[in-house]
């Protein structure tokens, strides 16, 4: 699918300074691994017999189904996948007037571009060439970001287990596929509501079914493009919204959306030092200038005080000299006068 890296305008405030408009818009076409497998889920054929749930539990060695499959009360509540049941069948439309009810099977959709793999900090998920998205518990640190990110609420976590909790999800029976078999649920389904095959083949078949029965199907294969396309695809006669399948906000793959901001990170790492040192230098110079101005002002002030000190000193010396002269004259005159009196007597 064509991917235009979502143009992320103005990452962090720092990056805003670097005016990074859309980060490198890479337009790359990723078709995914050729010949990968998928499954087509035709909800107009599903009769809600839940044989797929039973088969899935047997294949994966999980505890058996809580409610037996002939107990219809299980459909009164809408269930979700849990750590012990990797797939559940829900009734979404309950017709009274004899029309068959509408059921849908929930499980991990094995996206072409898995967001669970994208958000895992330990790279514990891997999109295999055969199609399934595999989980490696030996790498997982249990942050549960994948459980938070999945738009299909498909992942579950072993909260009870204190020491070795794992993320539990459908693996599309990877081992069976490697042996050339079909996933447990596909084999178990009596109505052929789950067809296993190459994904491209299934898309062709789905379009063919829609063409052949225009009144039975909505002309849309859910999963062909939603969030970049999924391995599990759904055909339905009722609007997908009623089947809790929000038709997906965008066909842009979630990895592109999730990592669109991360393009800014290397920018921040590389541009900040220069900028901040510049800022630091600026503030240092600003300080230096301020300090030097202060010193000049001080020096000027000091110089000014010295001058008027000198001037005062000079004036004082001047006055002192004149007083001295006057005193000398007075003394001389007094001496002369005494000399005349001496002469007369």
């Amino acid at each position: 699918m064509t991917v235009t890296r979502r143009g992320f305008i103005g990452g962090a405030v720092g990056a805003a300074i670097t005016a990074s408009t859309a980060d490198a818009g890479t337009v790359k076409e990723f078709e995914g691994y050729p010949g990968r497998y998928g499954l087509l889920h035709d909800t107009t054929l599903c009769v809600g017999c839940r044989s797929c749930e039973v088969a899935c539990k047997q294949v994966n060695g999980l505890p058996p189904v809580e409610q037996p499959i002939d107990d219809p009360s299980v459909f009164d509540t809408v269930r979700r996948t849990t750590e012990t049941s990797l797939t559940v069948v829900n009734r979404y439309v309950d017709h009274e007037d004899g029309e068959p009810d509408v059921y849908r099977k929930l499980q991990c959709m094995h996206c072409n571009e898995p967001c669970c793999a994208t958000v895992c900090p330990c790279h514990a998920f891997e999109k295999t060439p055969e199609g399934p998205v595999l989980y490696h518990p030996e790498l997982c640190m249990g942050c549960r970001y994948c459980v938070m990110a999945c738009p299909y609420y498909a992942l579950a976590y072993e909260y009870e287990d204190p020491l070795t909790p794992k993320v539990m999800r459908c693996t599309m029976c990877y081992d069976r596929i490697k042996e050339g078999l079909h996933p447990g649920c596909a084999d178990a389904c009596p109505m052929g509501a789950i067809t296993f095959g190459e994904r491209d083949e299934l898309i062709r078949i789905a379009h063919e079914r829609i063409r052949k029965h225009p009144d039975r199907y909505i002309d849309h294969i859910f999963g062909e493009h939603e969030f970049g396309g999924t391995s599990w695809m759904v055909l339905a006669g009722t609007p997908f919204k009623d089947l809790d399948l929000d038709e997906g906000i965008t066909t842009e793959p979630l990895p592109a959306i999730a990592t669109s901001y991360l393009g800014v990170v290397p920018l921040v790492i590389t541009l900040y030092p220069g900028l901040l040192l510049g800022m630091y230098a600026f503030s240092k110079r600003h300080e230096a200038v301020a300090r030097s101005e202060r010193e000049e002002a001080v020096a000027a002030a000091v110089a000014a005080t010295e001058e008027d000190a000198q001037a005062k000193l000079a004036a004082a010396a001047e006055r002192a000299k004149k007083d001295k002269e006057r005193a000398v004259d007075a003394a001389v005159k007094k001496a002369l006068a005494e000399a005349q009196e001496g002469g007369d007597s």
Binding site: L45, P68, I69, H182, A186, D187, M191, K212, H213
Partner: protein
């Protein structure tokens, strides 16, 4: 504005916002359903732009409260009969006089009754001109089907002129002409035309007027309140005759559907049989009581709009075409198993000869071809059970979690065959037995002993041509058919579970 007021206003806003928090999930607004007896008082376009919202007038309520005053309080009833529109406003289409007519008519009556302490209605403008959000009316259009028509004929033997009339242009009067009766819809359209009132006015004048007259004379009559004809439940409660005498309008029992192309074999159409099979004449004569070829020609742009003659006869989706109607008929009750879904085509290429079995069509003035007696339906008898036609088939090829399934083969065949025999349409089209067998043994050559499912369906889904695996083939064929027929579809209904499996 001192900062004191700024702070107070902000705190006030905060409190308001917080108070709205519990309404976090906004619920969708339910659609307003309007009672069938509520009528919108129409405002003719000539009277100009309405300044206030249209008034929803509850006619049922008024009819109930004024039932002893009689309908004459609002409707003019004179020797030409019952006039459906409000008598004070009839024929007025200028703004002021129309407003006065309604205001004097309604508010004066309400004021008077209020004065006398009787139950009364609104008086001020705002109470009547209320701005409603759009509602969906529960009103249902009544259909005079053959049963109801027959009851009227029984009530007024050979007095067809009472309802059916033709406008004699010369004398500009309504006269009755035998064998020209039609549905009112033929001439009276939704909007009144210069010489024919609107369908609504015409029908209310004729039917409600007559019912009212007979009610006044305390004779047994039909409904004259809105709900009588327009409410779904009331309509369902209308008495139906169990066998309906044939309606004679001078139509022939059989006719040739000749078409317009030379060389195509004509279709012997059993008109009499089809009258019995459809609810009204309008099922096929949906516009005028004329043959299809009069409007639907082969040239585009004919009266038949963009539907040419071929489509008029063969259009799958339409209830008015032959093949369309047959398809719907085949989709019901016993036939639904095969025919509801389009896995088994109706009106497929191989069934053309069933209808087109008359002589070739010749254009130009050619002596009319005599009507033929329809060939009797040659449906051969159901053979008894034999090894070719086993009474019961045990399907055990795949049983592992469930026991083998014992499929009651003949029981199914007898039921389907019974359904076919008592339907003329089915027995005419099915002809031989093999047509029924190819319902399940599809894609297998008709006539021989059909091969088992396993010969084509392998043990896993072959995605190349979307061919299901054997297990899926069994279930899809049986469970889907049972679903459509409303039969049991539980797992253990067909095959008991083996001990020890969940």
């Amino acid at each position: 504005m001192s900062h004191r007021t700024v702070l107070n206003s902000l705190l006030g806003l905060l409190v308001i916002a917080a108070s709205a928090v519990p309404a976090i999930a906004s619920r969708p607004v339910p659609v307003r359903l309007v009672d069938p007896a509520v009528v919108e008082i129409d405002w003719p376009a000539a009277a100009g732009e309405p300044q206030r919202p249209v008034v929803e007038f509850n006619h049922g309520l008024h009819a109930e409260t004024l039932k002893n005053d009689g309908c004459a309080t609002c409707h003019r009833i004179d020797d030409d009969g019952f006039h459906p529109s409000f008598k004070a406003a009839a024929g007025i289409d200028r703004r002021e006089p129309l407003m006065d007519a309604y205001h004097d008519g309604c508010t004066s009556c309400h004021l008077r009754r209020a004065g006398e302490g009787l139950k009364s209605g609104p008086v001020t403008c705002g109470e009547c001109h209320v701005k409603h959000d759009p509602g969906v009316s529960l009103r249902v259009a009544p259909v005079v089907d053959l049963s109801l028509h027959a009851r009227h004929v029984k009530a007024f033997p050979d007095d067809c002129g009472r309802c059916h009339h033709v406008l004699d242009k010369a004398t500009d009067t309504l006269v009755y002409r035998k064998n020209t009766e039609e549905a009112c819809r033929g001439c009276h359209k939704a909007v009144a035309v210069e010489d024919s009132p609107s369908l609504r006015d015409a029908v209310h004048r004729e039917c409600v007027g007559c019912h009212l007259e007979r009610a006044e004379r305390a004779e047994d009559t039909g409904p004259f309140r809105c709900v009588g004809c327009h409410d779904e439940a009331e309509l369902a409660a209308v008495k139906r005759l169990d066998e309906i005498p044939r309606l004679d309008r001078g139509q022939s029992d059989r006719a040739w559907v000749k078409g317009l192309v030379a060389g195509v074999s004509m279709v012997p159409f059993d008109h009499k049989l089809h009258e019995g099979a459809s609810s009204t004449c309008s099922s096929c004569h949906h516009d005028r009581m004329r043959s299809c070829a009069d409007c639907h020609t082969l040239q585009p742009g004919s009266d038949g709009g963009d539907v040419n003659l071929q489509q008029a006869h063969h259009e799958h989706g339409s209830m008015l075409s032959c093949v369309g109607c047959h398809q719907v008929a085949a989709g019901r009750d016993d036939c639904a198993g095969c025919h509801r879904d389009t896995t088994v085509a109706v009106g497929g290429v191989d069934s053309c000869a069933v209808c087109h079995r008359g002589p070739k069509r010749q254009l130009g003035d050619v002596p009319p071809v005599p009507e033929e007696e329809p060939a009797p339906v040659a449906l051969d008898e159901l053979p008894a059970a034999s090894d070719d036609l086993p009474e019961e088939v045990t399907i055990d090829l795949l049983s592992d979690t469930y026991e083998a399934s014992k499929m009651p083969h003949m029981k199914i065949i007898r039921r389907l065959d019974g359904g076919i025999r008592n339907s003329v349409l089915a027995s005419r089209f099915h002809g031989s037995l093999d047509a029924m067998c190819s319902g399940c043994h599809h894609h297998s050559p008709v006539g021989q002993r059909p091969s088992g499912c396993v010969s084509c369906h392998g043990n896993d889904n072959a995605p190349t041509d979307d061919r299901p695996s054997l297990k899926v083939a069994y279930h899809r064929q049986c469970v889907a058919c049972h679903q459509r027929l409303g039969l049991k579809t539980g797992c253990t209904d067909c095959h008991p579970a083996k001990e020890g499996t969940s």
